[in-house]
Symmetry: C2
Subunit: 335 residues, 2 copies
């Protein structure tokens, strides 16, 4: 209790107590090989006894490294990011980095501004689904080490989840169930994933001699499901692939309200396999994405690039596969 407001112990205190120079203490603590085993032990013992805790800002000021990495997301609320938060958190902790969370509220301007302002206090950042135009992204990468997730721009290391490949499987699945009118429910236009998925959808349908239709774009968020469901219904399609599970889940709710049976009247496929996709009503057929793994990979890529004394030429773009997970929101047409 009486330890209330005592001045925290510094390496100078340890130096005094041990009878060595502060520089030696510093080295004993942060570059142990640079000091003899005996002194090192002694210093570390004293440090422990005095309950020494390093002062990160001072360390950062002197060394230029903050041991902090930011995860930048467009909306913390989106369950898609939950997996990424978890994955990055795990890996960063393991690598001894602190995990800063930045929410850009879906604004590209926020994204650059915040990152620009914080760049001095970060060793790097992971951009989850960046909304930035390519050139801005490259420019930013010049200011601070970056790894993007689900966004591929030349010159910026990235981890992308290969949902497009999965889309082909989904289309295959729907076609084999007898569907011919399949529509894509489009997400925000600036979203790179959205573009990629729509593109994949087009070529997949084409391969079956089918035309590609789409409805939207809709703003991200489950709320969009209502409008999306209505639009799909109006389109006359018998099946749809939604930009993401949030849309799909929202649609399910709306369809139930309107008395539309899923999958008897309409099949729905989502993307990402977020939390909830497995216990919705009906459980959602979706493209399972290894989001958590993507987060971990992104961190690995980033910290690998951060260490100056490391073999640089790593692979700079990782692609993770997706698998179609068939549940109960897809089925043959029965009308």
């Amino acid at each position: 209790m009486e330890s209330g407001r005592r001045r925290p112990v510094t390496i100078a205190d340890i130096a005094a107590a041990t009878g060595v120079a502060v520089s030696t203490v510093s080295r004993a603590l942060s570059r142990p090989s640079r000091v003899s085993a005996a002194t090192r032990e002694r210093i570390q013992a004293v440090a422990r006894a005095m309950d020494y805790v390093p002062h990160p800002p001072a360390r950062a000021l002197a060394s230029g490294r903050t041991r902090t990495v930011a995860l930048v997301v467009s909306d913390v609320t989106n369950p898609f990011y939950f997996g990424m938060i978890r994955g990055t958190q795990q890996q960063l902790k393991a690598a001894g980095y602190a995990h800063l969370l930045i929410d850009t509220e879906d604004s590209a301007d926020h994204e650059v501004e915040m990152l620009h302002a914080m760049r001095r206090s970060l060793d790097g950042a992971i951009l989850g689904a960046s909304r930035l135009p390519a050139r801005a992204l490259v420019a930013l990468a010049g200011e601070i080490p970056l790894v993007t997730v689900n966004r591929n721009v030349r010159g910026v290391p990235s981890v992308v989840i290969d949902t497009p490949a999965g889309i082909a499987q989904a289309v295959e699945h729907l076609v084999s169930l007898g569907h011919r009118d399949i529509v894509y429910v489009s997400g925000p236009t600036q979203s790179w994933s959205n573009q990629a998925r729509w593109q994949a959808m087009r070529v997949a349908l084409e391969r079956h001699g089918l035309g590609a239709q789409r409805v939207g774009p809709f703003p991200s968020g489950r709320g969009s499901g209502t409008a999306a469901a209505d639009a799909v219904l109006n389109s006359g399609a018998t099946a749809c692939v939604a930009f993401n599970d949030l849309f799909a889940l929202g649609m399910l709710t709306r369809l139930r309200e309107r008395g539309v049976r899923v999958p008897a009247d309409l099949s729905v496929v989502g993307c990402d396999d977020i939390f909830g996709a497995d216990f919705s009503n009906p459980p959602l057929t979706t493209l399972a994405a290894p989001i958590e793994q993507a987060g971990r990979m992104a961190v690995s890529l980033l910290v690998a690039g951060l260490d100056p004394r490391a073999p640089q030429p790593q692979r700079r773009a990782v692609v993770l596969p997706t698998y179609l997970t068939v549940r109960e929101s897809t089925g043959p047409l029965t009308s």
Copy 2:
């Protein structure tokens, strides 16, 4: 492009360019009232022109304040925290603080260790559902400003969601549907909320002359739902209140597997109203908790206490109400 690796501009550069002392620049930027309007404008203009970005670590070293607050959760994966992450994120951003995320992996030891280690780089921390014993919590609060959520310990400011009051409503609801055998599905023993909820359950049932039963404890996580469902079934109860929605959702899945109809054979009530509770099958009756608001309040409490020139004696313990949200997982017994 060619701005690649140029030395970042410092206040010294600005001072040189403006012809004033660095101290004046510092003041013009961080304590604008301390300098005349004319010089201030001039300095700020130059700073803008030179694209000056303050260096947070240096600032922190000199001032002792880091403008960073940590949110400490026991498991980032738990959807309960999503709301808190969002709430704290919003409010912290608004207050100009950075948001650090710490996952303790359900370990009280991790909790103290990490916080102890990081205390020098934090201005304060928000403890989401701390697992710490009361004395450890108080000790920690002596090291670093703390606000707890869903954990009330004398001397530590807190925000608690009054789920216990809601529990009474839930019991009322179940009793009025004709249930007499109501069981509580217990969460982790160290969880303060769990204790509080079970306690509330006991008094509520007693008021109706009913005995309180419980099953568990179960480790947190949706997976526990399986064992929990089986245990409840074996208990012979016709209704249950689960420690949280994650349990309840897990139970729903298991009950469906076993062919138990909800609510016809068993009524289920959850707590917290997390993401997914509204679209599960059936949608979950639950105690809606204003989690996001709790996060915001916690931040407000914390930053209010951080400002040295502020009216200190704020209210130090906030209680937020819950409301029973009746959906389709509860109903009269029909057998």
